[in-house]
């Protein structure tokens, strides 16, 4: 039996592919796709975002964190607190 070599799906920049996506700190639901569940920003090589959009993405994630729209780290998250208390 011949096994086919595993080929990962080609990654692409979601913001280049879809011009309607608004890359702003006001849209934390979208930004949450680009952080780990602990709140760390995912690397470009993992998400496939292009360099230009990754720079904007980082800036907007950091803005969203400042305004308590996203958490800095999961231990500070309101949801995690509710479960532990």
């Amino acid at each position: 039996m011949v096994f086919k070599k595993f080929t990962p799906r080609k990654k692409f920049c979601r913001f280049c592919a879809n011009g309607d996506l608004q890359l702003t700190y006001k849209n934390p639901d979208l930004l949450n796709d680009f952080v780990t569940d602990r709140g760390k920003i995912l690397a470009r090589r993992i998400t496939g975002t292009c360099a230009k959009h990754q720079r904007q993405l980082t800036r907007e994630i950091k803005r969203a964190r400042q305004m308590a729209l996203m958490y800095y780290t999961a231990t500070h998250s309101t949801e995690v607190r509710k479960k532990t208390v």
């Binding site: 700190y25 934390p28 803005r63 964190r65 308590a68 996203m70 500070h76 998250s77 607190r81």
Partner: protein
């Protein structure tokens, strides 16, 4: 004159009159400094991602306005003095702001 936007995170305990007086005060400052408020956008009460001043809820209000760039610090100074504002963030949207005749 440039176009800016400020997102305010307000104390959820403050009632609608208190909120209105604050917003009126801030738009008054914008107008006094030769600016113009374009939009006031109330996002309503939201669950915060992390507690701020030991409160897990907050009310977001977004202001969009045109203001000469040297006057932004004056507006921010006034926001800082307001006790009901937990956090705020000012972002420049555009370099030009077309003033509407009022």
């Amino acid at each position: 004159m440039k176009k800016y936007e400020t997102l305010l995170l307000l104390d959820p305990e403050v009632g609608s009159e208190g909120r209105q007086t604050l917003l009126d005060k801030l738009s008054g400052i914008v107008q006094r400094d030769g600016g113009q408020v374009a939009e006031v956008d109330d996002w309503g009460q939201k669950q915060l991602a992390y507690p701020v001043r030991k409160v897990t809820r907050g009310r977001y209000v977004r202001l969009e306005y045109g203001l000469p760039e040297e006057k932004v610090s004056e507006l921010e100074r006034n926001i800082r003095m307001a006790d009901e504002v937990f956090k705020f963030l000012t972002v420049k949207l555009e370099d030009e702001f077309a003033q509407e005749a009022s």
